[in-house]
């Protein structure tokens, strides 16, 4: 991890720690930041896959759903403990990601995009049709809230739990991208042929990072299921998959911080657009198109460039 990253991480941790006081315990704001944390876990994984390894996934909501439904089904129908269900969810997601990823990651660019799109849609159909377990389109309710030492976790405690995950995974991811593995992933992004020639097993690394990102999404799904206690297929369909991808691209896929910034933008956007739901899809499409055309590196990189330019101008002027 670089020094800059550690400072940013520290600032973030302090902000989250004092956040409940900033908003005076307002449950509405706290729940938004909980969702922000949950989404951040997914987009961090997606950023490793897209920004670093250069592979696209348009089906990541499927892994999010596998995590959520594993937690939901195992705790309600089979009275598993939430912790056990959490780890089983991770296991299922990793297994599916491995089995699907192995043949899919051999494909390139457009083909991989459409294959993951199809795979995500198949899982969406399965969530809808496996009614005895998932409750079908009307959803699965009565998922138990998390309890620690006999006490139910309330909003503030859940905020700390989710962001504890975010910070741990962030430290892990930042360390990873600055290690041998991270360099290997970037090599694969640059040119698979060259990476292979330098002794980097591109195919293996791609599958590994795909599985890792699926595990992240599964954790987020479990945390989501226990927070809202009701899940339905619409949270795990095509549009959520696209949303996660949009968060990464708009913030800037090149760094994990960019992905987190994009997540913050898109998690809070629907709250500004309250009452304007008819414009929502239009706004998403418009923002994504604008970013692609005018800031292809994402918002974060653009802000850094502007800052640097300003610095230079200040230094030049007498």
């Amino acid at each position: 991890m670089k020094r800059k990253d550690s400072y940013a991480l520290l600032v973030m941790a302090v902000l989250i720690a004092i956040f409940p006081w900033i908003v005076a315990g307002n449950e509405y704001f706290i729940s938004i930041v909980v969702f922000l944390g949950i989404n951040s876990i997914i987009t961090m994984g997606l950023c490793l896959l897209m920004g670093y390894a250069g592979q696209i996934s348009l089906g990541h909501a499927a892994f999010y759903g596998i995590g959520a439904y594993s937690s939901g089904i195992l705790t309600t129908h089979y009275s598993f403990s939430p912790v056990m269900a959490f780890f089983l969810g991770i296991f299922f997601s990793a297994l599916v990601a491995y089995l699907v990823g192995k043949p899919t990651l051999r494909l390139k660019g457009h083909y991989m995009a459409v294959a993951t799109l199809g795979f995500g849609e198949i899982f969406f159909i399965a969530f809808n049709e496996l009614t005895p377990w998932t409750g079908g389109p009307s959803g699965l309710s009565g998922i138990p809230a998390l309890r620690f030492f006999g006490k139910t976790l309330e909003e503030t405690a859940y905020l700390y739990l989710v962001w504890g995950f975010v910070i741990l995974l962030l430290i892990f991811s930042l360390n990873m991208v600055n290690s041998r593995v991270g360099r290997a992933l970037r090599a694969v992004h640059g040119s698979e042929l060259a990476a292979n020639a330098m002794g980097v097993d591109a195919a293996r690394y791609k599958v590994q990072v795909f599985v890792l990102s699926a595990v992240y999404a599964s954790m987020a799904g479990s945390l989501y299921a226990h927070f809202v206690t009701f899940i339905s297929p619409s949270s795990f369909g095509l549009m959520p998959s696209i949303m996660f991808l949009m968060m990464v691209v708009v913030g800037g896929a090149g760094t994990i911080w960019g992905a987190l910034l994009g997540t913050a933008v898109f998690t809070s956007l629907p709250e500004y657009l309250r009452g304007l739901e008819d414009y929502e899809v239009l706004a998403y499409g418009g923002i994504l198109m604008f970013i692609l055309l005018f800031m292809p590196q994402g918002i974060l990189q653009r802000m850094q460039n502007l800052l640097n330019q300003m610095k230079q101008r200040v230094e030049k002027s007498p």
Partner: protein, 313 residues
């Protein structure tokens, strides 16, 4: 996204029929959806040949075709033939604008960006449609009488013949365009080798623009002919695009003939699967076919392995 309702009525009717006539009924409705998949697949193929881009907004052209036709003929009461021409013209223009404003400026961008820009286009089109038409599905009256016909124990709406007939005409027209006209031949040349095409004086950039316009037009026609049967709403695009793409890869991406045959094949497979196995998993059939083809033989049924070496799978 909710699963689209389609041929439900066919299944309800079929409960009273014998197995043979049921299968005939499924075959007919398979041909019907199949023509739509074939047209979408053809749209994919045209753009892919000119640019090696897979246009994820292909399904949105179909959706827009259906909804604009509803607006013109149901709300403004414009006669059908005029409405058809105006709708196709409008969607063609949209396709051209999309290429000019989004694809063209990014022609030198990374592959990842090129994939995401067509995705952004599809979201944008969907957003516009949702803003203009709302979330409700719209109906379009059939082109001629709605008195059903009986054929070998199966019941057929007259619209069935319209769908097949117009699809046939479009396919014939596209074949004629690519094989008998100068522009069409120039576009074919671009798909073989765009550098060589440029060397013999073909304006490749114009051909890319044509491919998007033409593909939008074909998509619009598919939307117009299918709306009287299945209704149309703003979020129908992605699934149509996926199934059309399934047909395009099954037929061997880049091959127009293959795409058409595979489109009908997938339509029939889906209809038989929905009727005889499970209607809930109907939409998964085409997607499974697509995944299996991509995993096992990405060159498709009719594509040669040698040719596929040259493509970027």
């Amino acid at each position: 996204m909710k699963p689209p309702r389609s041929f439900v009525h066919v299944r309800e009717n079929s409960l009273k029929m014998s197995l043979t006539s049921q299968i005939i009924q499924f075959l007919f409705s398979g041909l019907n959806v199949g023509s739509i998949y074939a047209l979408v697949a053809l749209g994919f193929t045209m753009i892919y040949n000119a640019t090696s881009i897979i246009n994820l907004a292909q399904g949105e052209f179909v959706m827009l075709g259906g909804l604009i036709m509803v607006f013109l003929t149901v709300f403004l009461q414009i006669p059908m033939y005029l409405g058809l021409i105006l709708t196709v013209a409008a969607v063609t223009l949209l396709g051209a604008f999309f290429e000019r404003l989004a694809i063209h400026p990014l022609r030198n961008a990374s592959l990842l960006t090129l994939i995401i820009v067509t995705l952004a286009g599809s979201i944008l089109f969907r957003g516009i449609a949702m803003f203009l038409w709302g979330k409700d599905p719209y109906a379009l009256p059939p082109f001629s009488s709605s008195k059903p016909l009986h054929l070998w124990g199966a019941t057929l709406q007259p619209q069935f013949f319209w769908v097949l007939g117009i699809t046939g005409l479009v396919l014939l027209g596209v074949w004629f365009f690519f094989n008998r006209t100068l522009i069409g031949k120039a576009m074919t040349a671009c798909s073989f080798n765009s550098t060589a095409a440029r060397l013999v004086g073909i304006n490749v950039r114009k051909m890319v623009l044509f491919s998007f316009s033409l593909s939008a037009a074909v998509g619009a026609i598919a939307g117009i002919i299918i709306t009287p049967i299945t209704l149309m709403e703003y979020d129908r695009g992605p699934l149509l695009a996926l199934k059309g793409f399934a047909a395009a890869v099954l037929g061997g991406l880049g091959s127009g003939g293959g795409a058409i045959v595979a489109g009908f094949l997938i339509g029939i497979l889906e209809s038989l699967g929905a009727g005889l196995v499970s209607s809930g998993y109907k939409d998964a059939i085409a997607l499974l076919v697509m995944l299996i083809v991509l995993w096992v033989k990405p060159s498709g049924l009719f594509g040669s392995a040698e040719e596929s070496e040259l493509k970027k799978f």
